[in-house]
């Protein structure tokens, strides 16, 4: 047995390993994060006049706040030190629990002290502190995730050896003889890269062409309908994609593959491609729409024709936005777990051909986590693969930040010209080399020219013109047709998933399945979803209670209480952005380490809800922020000029005006909670069980119960039924969201 502890590592490993790990954590995690932070903080903007007016209101109580915060910090430090000492003497815990106790007491102390002190001063200050504290949660979450993953994963890397872990071509866990186990993560790194590239080619290509088609070629009438349909599909749970892949795509591919095996990179690319498709479409659509119509008009005025103007002027102008959407899509593909595990084949080997089974980093974690013993090297190695995954995501985040055009500046980002130069320079170099070697001698050239003129005279010129004209005409036409085909086929594919599941599942939805009592674990007992439905409701409730207030308060803090481009705001924004990029499986790992094991919450609805709340937080913050941004500054100014304070302005003017957006955000957030699977399996349980009796009992949500059903041939009908319920639920939530937004928006406009 390999039982790890820190002293053993210190004894066992020479300085070289520790040094390498240090370098790895610096270059892998700390450096990317620092670059990200730098990029964020760099984008300081000068105040514009209307903003300055609002800021002056913020400045008023600055000194007071500073004093309060200073006071609070000192008091809380003393209090937490005292608490930590008490905990230490009372329990005799060393090391980790002590650290946790300190962190927790600091948090509690800051909260209690700041609130008491602040209420003594004024409502304005106290609310400001509440807003500040809720925004700090995002920052704490980011640090906690990084810290615990590295803390748990690094000792394993030290024991395995840095190079042998990262570049080892063999991953072999031997449960009977742990000393025979070999943990090399290279095949999974390769698998993750292949899956991401495949998804990018299929989902990215389809997505960009579909976006172009929707904005420029579609009849105007169906444009809104199409984009809303695609937005609806963005909410489909990933387990359903995986299920469709395993049921339809893999058996079909098995017929045409030379090895007779359907699963592998091709199947994964198709499924992941369709999953990232809605993301790519909606983002690149936005950036294509943002291109000024004068570009298009100029193209048409020069006689370029519609297709040519679109593909040659509009699309190139939107390229940074399109690129950003593709990168975001890749980020999603890299972090996806449940859809991949059902179609990848899961053998830990380098992907080798379109139909060879392979494993991604995410799959590796889910597949073997069940066997990882606490404190074993195996567990450490799995968590370390989570660290590698996190590194991937951070790097993708950096690239995203480099590519994304700063909306406040007209300057194009640096990356596009750089890429262009990077590609064209070597090409030009190679071309020049080639042309030099194949250059004809002068007399040969003369001869060639002569022949050419003769030829030209012989043939009639108009004929050539006709041909070239035809090509010029047909090429853009082809592009247009292709983009149409992409639009139709991808919508047909996604619609196909829904129709396939519903036709197979609707007939099996029965009263017994929905409300029947859980009557036993044995195979002959009819399955019921009632406990899962109750669990889902409980979990959605708790997650909403945690995530939504935090998210909305953070958004208010960012939008109303900080100056544009202030350091605090940028730090919070960076944390929110990082949280948004962290894959759900990493949230699951973090939840398992921290909430389930260290805090001892166990597999419970509480653990699952807290973890998913952290996941939903960034989405809530960002979307709410968009809503607050849309509130015109004149509203705020009007409120101030009537003598209202900051708090009153926020709660009486700004939030009510942004209400339609906020409500939409909440409903979409619930949709995401319902669809979540991967992180819940590690924090809430994965086998359907009896009715939960409180928040401390484990349970399965509808999506996890569906996954459990798909794993058993006997319950395939129940699986289809559960999938149908899931799809209907998510679609209803998404449709409600858009209808609510429209309804509230109209009502607002009317009053």
């Amino acid at each position: 047995m390999n039982i790890l502890n820190t002293t053993k590592i210190a004894e066992k490993h020479n300085k070289k390993e520790i040094f390498l790990i240090l370098i790895f954590s610096i270059f892998g995690i700390v450096l990317p994060f620092t670059i990200l932070a730098y990029l964020k903080l760099k984008k300081l903007n000068k105040d514009d006049t209307s903003q300055r007016l609002i800021d002056s209101a913020k400045k008023k109580d600055k000194r007071l706040t500073a004093a309060v915060i200073l006071l609070v910090t000192w008091i809380s430090l003393f209090v937490s030190a005292a608490c930590a000492l008490v905990v230490f003497y009372a329990t005799g815990w060393f090391g980790f629990p002590l650290l946790i106790a300190i962190v927790l007491t600091i948090i509690v102390a800051v909260l209690v002290n700041s609130l008491t002190v602040a209420f003594v001063f004024s409502k304005e200050v106290s609310f400001k502190i509440i807003f500040l504290i809720s925004s700090v949660v995002a920052i704490i979450a980011v640090f906690a995730i990084f810290f615990f993953l590295i803390w748990e994963g690094m000792p394993a890397i030290a024991e395995i050896g840095f190079f042998r872990f990262l570049f080892g071509r063999t991953w072999h866990h031997d449960g009977d003889n742990p000393q025979n186990s070999i943990y090399g993560v290279l095949p999974m790194i390769g698998g993750t890269i292949v899956a991401a590239i495949g998804a990018l080619i299929i989902g990215g290509g389809l997505g960009v062409l579909t976006a172009i088609c929707i904005v420029w070629f579609c009849p105007k009438k169906i444009r809104g309908f199409l984009s809303q349909t695609i937005a609806l599909l963005a909410g489909l749970p990933s387990v359903i994609f995986g299920f469709f892949g395993a049921q339809v795509i893999v058996p079909f591919l098995a017929n045409i593959s030379p090895t007779g095996m359907g699963s592998g990179p091709l199947a994964v690319s198709i499924i992941l491609g369709m999953m990232i498709f809605p993301t790519v479409v909606s983002l690149s659509k936005n950036s294509i729409e943002a291109v000024s119509s004068t570009y298009y008009e100029a193209g048409v005025a020069l006689g370029a024709g519609k297709e040519r103007s679109v593909f040659r002027t509009v699309v190139p102008s939107a390229k940074s936005g399109i690129l950003a959407s593709l990168i975001l899509g890749v980020g999603r593909a890299v972090g996806e777990t449940m859809a991949v595990i059902m179609v990848a084949g899961n053998v830990a080997q380098m992907p080798d051909g379109f139909f060879a089974p392979f494993r991604t980093l995410t799959v590796n974690i889910v597949l073997e986590m069940g066997y990882a013993e606490p404190n074993s090297l195996h567990l450490g190695a799995l968590i370390a693969s989570g660290v590698v995954l996190l590194m991937f995501v951070l790097i993708i985040n950096i690239i995203f930040n480099l590519v994304k055009k700063n909306p406040n500046s007209n300057k194009e980002s640096v990356i596009i010209p750089a890429i262009k130069r990077g590609i064209t320079f070597p090409m030009r170099f190679i071309l020049s080399k080639i042309s030099r070697t194949t250059r004809l001698a002068d007399d040969e050239v003369d001869e060639f020219k002569q022949r050419l003129t003769l030829e030209e005279k012989r043939k009639s010129a108009p004929k050539i013109n006709k041909l070239s004209a035809f090509i010029v005409k047909i090429l853009p036409m082809t592009a247009r047709v292709i983009s149409y085909v992409m639009l139709v086929s991808s919508i047909a594919f996604l619609g196909g998933i829904i129709i396939y599941v519903l036709t197979n599942g609707l007939g099996h939805i029965s009263w017994q399945l929905i409300s029947g009592e859980f009557s036993g674990f044995g195979v002959n007992h009819p399955r019921t979803l009632a406990p899962s439905i109750v669990t889902t409701l409980m979990y959605v409730l708790l997650t909403s209670i945690i995530a939504f207030p935090l998210g909305i308060l953070t958004a208010v803090f960012l939008q109303e209480y900080t100056k544009k481009g202030s350091k605090v705001a940028k730090a919070v924004e960076l944390a929110v952005e990082t949280l948004a990029g962290v894959p759900s499986i990493v949230y699951g790992l973090f939840g398992m380490i921290f909430f389930v094991n260290i805090l001892g919450l166990g597999l419970s609805i509480t653990s699952g809800s807290i973890v998913v709340a952290l996941m939903i937080l960034p989405v809530t913050v960002r979307a709410t922020q968009e809503g607050l941004k849309a509130v015109p500054d004149s509203y705020r100014e009007a409120s101030y000029s009537l003598g209202a304070g900051k708090v009153r302005t926020v709660f009486r003017v700004v939030i009510p005006t942004a209400l339609p957006t906020i409500v939409t955000v909440l409903i979409l957030g619930i949709g995401r909670m319902v669809a979540e699977t991967a992180s819940l399996m590690f924090t809430m349980g994965s086998t359907p069980r009896a009715m939960p009796d409180g928040y401390s009992s484990s349970g399965t949500t509808l999506a996890v119960a569906f996954y459990a059903f798909t794993r058993n041939m006997q319950f395939i009908n129940e699986a289809f039924a559960a999938a149908s319920i899931l799809i209907i639920l998510v679609l209803v939530l998404n449709i409600t969201a858009s209808l609510t937004a429209r309804f509230l928006g109209k009502k607002r406009a009317a009053t």
Partner: protein
Amino acid sequence: MKKVLKKVIVLALALSVALGVMVFMTGCSPDVVDMQIVAISRESGSGTRGQWDGAIHNGLDGDARQTLANWMGAGTTARPLAGSIQNGQSNVVFTVAGQRNAIGYASFSAIQGNANLRVLNINGHAPGTTNYPAALARDYVILTYSGVTLLPLTQLFLDFMQSSEGQEVIETAGYDFHGDNAEPFNIPSVRPTGQDEPIQIRGSTSVEPVMGELIDAFVALVPWIVLADFDFEAGGSGQGVTAGSGGTIGGSVPNRTIGMSSNAAHITTANSNTFFLANDVMAAFVNADNPLTNITIEQLFGIYTGAITAWADLIN
């Protein structure tokens, strides 16, 4: 007019492509004999997998054994490999039932009577008959941590499993039970105090079905026990061994946890009390469309090492 024509052309092209894809998808499905073999295996750490590896190892020379170890462990064979790793016994069954050219292995009792599968005779012997390879016979065991006194409900359930009532349930579920002299189970008239939290059961997906039956029977038998008294998660034998020997996994607490394992050889720890639960055999099976009925250990070895790749090599 021209515009309308253009639109019609575009729409027709788009539709024809979509239709073409659909026709292509539903078409072409060759005979199983002409197809490649897809070998479905379990993930490492599973008790079934460990025993299967060992069983098809027997009587093979060292080189072949090494090749097998490579395949099974990391798949570092020179050629691309057609096969997949499925987590959980039911996933293997599910995959083979859905894929016509696949072969897999699982507990015989779990696949008996499944119309979508064909259970193979090994070396000419059907599973359950006397000459069936002994290496494929397996014991299901349950284990608890020896370092603590079990909480009353957990102990009671443990007693039930070893009583004559428990044996009857196991035999009715289709498993062999060779244990003898089991005492009848005494139901305490009132619920013992001292355990409010559920009885936790962790471990093998192969033992999961029979354990499910046992829990149901226990709940039916004891009036003051309800299903909510059980916290039942089957994640694999590795989990069962950990949970049943003092470790914690998935929130398990040693003094109320029962681990289950499908592979007695798996249990290397001295920290546990181990109890025999039932007898079973492992069986190899193929899709019902596959005409194959018999296979040898050597052929299985060939399939799982990638030496035999086509069904044509095995069928006639």
